[in-house]
């Protein structure tokens, strides 16, 4: 008898003889059952979360080709095993009963009919070819998102730019991150942060600008809270226009008037200069001063008069100096700033003192409040400016770190460059040498890539409404919920446009489509995402897509093949993911944005670029940490060739928002998200637990405003702006508490479209719309 059999027989004998108590009998039965049923019959694989830009690692458990569970990946350095409520409920979003499973064509009577993939792909190829022939490459367009995988985005880039020779390629990151992109580009000539998530443990003071981090980046916020719990001396400052769950954890809550963050940041700069807190040798060695166009008449807001249909303002810079800065900041003394912002002047001084303290590591974090702003690039510039002036940049615990809201806004839109003016790895279509590199890698005739940028997102949809764009293909996003001033994009039947929408569920956007394609989602296909801290993360296909759903990149490649552009995608039907990624990677090598090899990504929980000799980089521009830095100490902004490898400090003034409350529309409307729902809610609302927590959009009122209106929580009100009106239920003193004179509504609810009220005013440089500031009035409807 072998040793193992002997032990088993011993155990069974013991069970028979010694099972004299009910508990022991139960235990013996338990043992037999355990032998039959093993709970670990799931197959586990790694993937980054599908939702926000944090990029938490999850382990995905599958059974019979379906996802049955997820758990936080303890090997992921991002989240160390923890998730937020959306992450824990990831499996639910894949299995709504109304998943799209077949290509659907709209018929003349408005209804949809299922058609074959061949018929659908042939139709797209024919329609696009026809528009190209009759109206040229300016009349075709593609619109994607920061939820595209790197493969989807790269396929789109190649099809639109190299195949159709059009630059009308955009992504919804324009509505989300474009101001951060332009901030980094104008100052460092390279997009994306120098810092990383290790700043959450290394930092002392955390400034949150326009950023409800407890709800929007909960896992990162809990890293800060944990640092605070362990170290004690950590401070959190929440600078916002509305009290949120984040404010509850802040040591200092600074409630400013909408749009006056520009004044506050200048006020901080003024104090740093006046009190002598400038890191002088750092500035001398690493910073140049620039000043741009500040002519309000010329800049406008992108939505009035001649700018109503097209917004093409271009900024221009000239050399400035720290002496000019001193004079410029005379307008931003604590008293003047305090009056503009509606805060005590002592608060301005306190914030400046915190930023100015040379012995404290300071991290600035920001998100949509700063980016979705008619002067969003300016605001990004000012935040980077504060860090440049104090030398708190490029070292652990001292950095400006912009947060992102989509899983691959960085990896796909910003790095692959799926925007109308960009090519991969910081390249621009307007630069000859950048187009030449692309032509070489793609094997194109020299000088054939178009140099004129295409439409930015808002102008793209304006052009579609006008009829200047005749064919558009929309993937992984829901613009008929998320675009500002939605009413102006309403579609009239028989308008001659051809709109294709690839998605996983029916949405208001599929409702306006001529052709709807079913996409596979997340782990139903192989992919790569890139997160906020430059971490590129790969996953394998772990589950089966439903019905005939196919991945977005495959859809694009098949259409390209049918248009005679198959040579751009020379890979076989299977196993093309690695080959395509490695071609894309060639763009990044040697640029300081070198992404990791596919083989390395498969083995790791992501790698932060630049990856040189297989090693990732936590802190960019930092001597001894970034392999591209040639200096022996300090920082080296080696990408900013235009400024002599120094960073540009931009002087940026305060200018008022596009629309401010008046007698007719006396309240500010600001919009945003809630913890439970992600973006337009098409995924998270299909998860029972998330829907049941926050089923419908609502309007948050200040208690005093509610008393004036004689309404309370649960009552119905009508919210009216110059552009539209809608009804919603009131919430007073809920999780968010706007100040008197401000109301807040989330945008996740397709049945209460808050973007019918918002204004399509935009940032003058990034062309990112301002969803945070417009004027409304609220009327009582009926008692709830």
């Amino acid at each position: 008898m072998k040793r193992r059999e002997f032990l088993q027989s011993l155990a069974l004998a013991a069970a028979g003889v010694a099972a004299h108590s009910p508990a022991d009998r139960a235990a013996a039965e338990g043992m037999r059952d355990a032998a039959q049923i093993d709970p670990s019959d799931l197959t586990w694989g790694k993937a980054p979360c599908r939702f926000c830009g944090t990029g938490c690692g999850v382990e995905v458990g599958t059974r019979d080709g379906r996802v049955a569970a997820v758990r936080g990946d303890r090997k992921s350095p991002v989240n160390r095993g923890l998730l937020c409520v959306k992450g824990y409920h990831l499996p639910g979003f894949l299995y709504g009963e109304d998943r799209l499973t077949k290509p659907m064509l709209r018929l003349a009577d408005g209804s949809f009919e299922a058609i074959s993939w061949d018929a659908a792909l042939d139709m797209i190829a024919e329609r696009y070819a026809k528009v190209l022939e009759t109206d040229g490459p300016d009349a075709v367009a593609m619109y994607g998102s920061g939820q595209w995988t790197v493969h989807d985005g790269y396929a789109a880039l190649k099809w639109v730019k190299a195949g159709m020779r059009s630059n009308n390629l955009e992504a919804n990151a324009r509505l989300c991150m474009a101001s951060a992109v332009m901030g980094f580009m104008t100052q460092f000539q390279s997009d994306e942060p120098m810092g990383c998530y290790e700043d959450f443990e290394a930092g002392d003071d955390f400034f949150l600008w326009g950023n409800n981090m407890a709800e929007m980046h909960p896992v990162l916020f809990s890293r800060i809270l944990e640092t605070k719990r362990q170290r004690g001396d950590v401070r959190i400052v929440d600078i916002a226009t509305r009290r949120t769950p984040t404010s509850d954890y802040a040591d200092l809550y600074v409630e400013i008037r909408p749009g006056t963050d520009l004044a506050l940041a200048n006020g901080i700069l003024q104090q740093i200069l006046a009190k002598g807190w400038v890191a002088e040798s750092f500035v001398r060695e690493n910073v140049v001063f620039q000043r741009g166009n500040e002519d309000l008449e010329e800049i406008g807001w992108g939505c009035y008069g001649a700018q109503k249909d097209r917004y093409t303002f271009a900024d221009s810079g000239r050399d400035s100096s720290i002496e000019e800065l001193g004079k410029f900041l005379a307008d931003y003394t604590p008293d003047k700033v305090a009056t503009l912002c509606g805060i005590p002047s002592a608060q301005v001084e306190t914030l400046a003192e915190m930023y100015g303290a040379s012995n404290r590591g300071t991290v600035s974090l920001w998100c949509m409040g700063v980016n979705q702003h008619t002067r969003g690039t300016w605001m990004n510039n000012l935040l980077n400016d504060i860090h440049l002036l104090t030398g708190k940049i490029g070292r652990p615990g001292a950095n400006p770190l912009s947060l992102t809201g989509q899983p691959s806004a960085c990896g796909t839109v910003r790095e692959v460059g799926t925007l109308s003016n960009r090519l991969p790895s910081d390249r621009l279509v307007t630069k000859d040498e950048h187009r030449t590199t692309a032509e070489q890698i793609w094997g194109l005739e020299p000088g054939t890539l178009p140099a004129k940028p295409g439409y930015h997102t808002v102008d793209m949809f304006r052009a579609l409404s006008r009829g200047d764009i005749k064919a558009i293909w929309i993937q992984t996003t829901n613009p008929w919920v998320s675009l500002p001033n939605l009413n102006r994009f309403e579609r009239s039947p028989g308008d001659g446009r051809f709109i294709v929408v690839s998605d996983i569920y029916p949405t208001p956007t599929t409702q306006v489509a001529d052709l709807v394609l079913p996409s596979s989602a997340w782990v139903e296909r192989e992919g790569v995402f890139g997160n906020t801290e430059r971490r590129t993360q790969q996953w394998n296909k772990l589950a089966d897509p439903p019905g005939e759903a196919r991945e977005d990149a495959w859809q694009i490649i098949e259409v390209a093949r049918r248009m005679g552009m198959g040579h751009l995608f020379p890979w076989g039907e299977d196993e093309w993911h690695e080959a395509m990624y490695e071609e894309y990677r060639r763009f990044s090598l040697g640029t300081g944005k070198d992404v990791a090899s596919y083989a390395q990504l498969k083995e790791t929980r992501g790698m932060r670029w630049p990856v040189v000799d297989g090693k990732e980089t936590a802190y960019r521009y930092a001597a001894g940490r970034d392999p591209y830095v040639t200096k022996s100490k300090g920082v080296h902004f080696y990408k900013a060739k235009k400024y002599g490898e120094k960073a540009a400090f931009w002087l940026r003034p305060y200018q008022p928002p596009a629309e401010v409350p008046d007698d007719e529309f006396p309240l500010w409307l600001t919009t945003g998200r809630v913890l439970e729902h992600w973006h337009t809610g098409s995924m998270t609302r299909r998860v029972r637990q998330l829907y049941q927590a926050v089923p419908k959009a609502y309007v948050e009122l200040n208690r005093s405003d509610a008393i004036d209106l004689e309404v309370g929580t649960g009552d119905r009100v009508r919210i009216v702006s110059r552009r539209g009106a809608l009804e919603a239920t009131v919430e007073v003193d809920g999780r968010g508490k706007p100040p008197r004179g401000t109301v807040f509504m989330p945008f996740f609810d397709e049945s209460i479209l808050v973007n019918q009220l918002t204004l399509d005013a935009m940032d003058n440089i990034s062309k990112e719309p301002d969803y945070k500031k417009c004027a409304v009035r609220v009327e009582r409807v009926a008692r709830g």
Binding site: G30, R80, P91, G92, L225
Partner: protein, 181 residues
């Protein structure tokens, strides 16, 4: 011996009084609050009543008119202790659903605490990470009978019960096996 009897009486008294006010959670109830076994349960009551930990303390607490507030299973371990409760637990405010679902998640398997032999302590069949406070689920009036411990007085559970982290078995290195032969 007398002292032991006294203790047992006290314990049974506590059990009886607890049972009078709070029922153990049923398997169906438990499952209904979660998307799948391992997902965070929804909050089954108005969550605006106060700070979560004032009732869901490390020991659990009887709340008049509401029932028994189970202890938090999340012990204060480094790295996650400061996580806000509502980052993962959200209140259920309606019975409606947006769209039905075909999702089938893993269910709790109560029979999986394997034992080396019938008298050996069963291994812990679930992840201990984020569930470090064993007493939260395995003791108290809300603990389900299937998983209630018979020996709550032994404070250090993991002295005898260990977490199963792999289904694999020990494979000696080639050198060791060669010696064995």
């Amino acid at each position: 011996m007398r002292a032991l009897l006294f203790c047992a009486c006290l314990a049974s008294l506590a059990l009886v009084s607890g049972a009078a006010r709070a029922e153990p959670t049923s398997a169906a109830e438990r499952a209904a609050r979660r998307l799948f076994d391992g997902a965070p349960p929804a909050i089954p009551h108005d969550s605006a009543v106060g700070a979560c930990v004032s009732c869901h303390s490390m020991a659990g607490r009887e709340i008049p008119s509401m029932g028994y507030a189970p202890a938090s299973p999340h012990a204060r371990t480094a790295g996650i202790a400061a996580v806000p409760c509502k980052q993962c637990h959200v209140e259920k405010r309606t019975d409606e659903v947006f769209v039905g679902s075909t999702f089938r998640g893993i269910e709790q398997d109560l029979r999986s605490g394997k034992r080396a032999n019938p008298l050996a302590p069963p291994v812990i069949p679930h992840m201990v990470f984020m569930r470090e406070n064993c007493a939260a689920c395995h003791t108290g009036p809300a603990a389900r009978s299937e998983i209630r411990t018979s020996h709550p007085e032994r404070a250090n559970c993991r002295q005898c019960h260990v977490e199963r982290v792999t289904t694999g078995v020990f494979a000696p290195s080639r050198e060791t096996s060669a010696q064995g032969r």
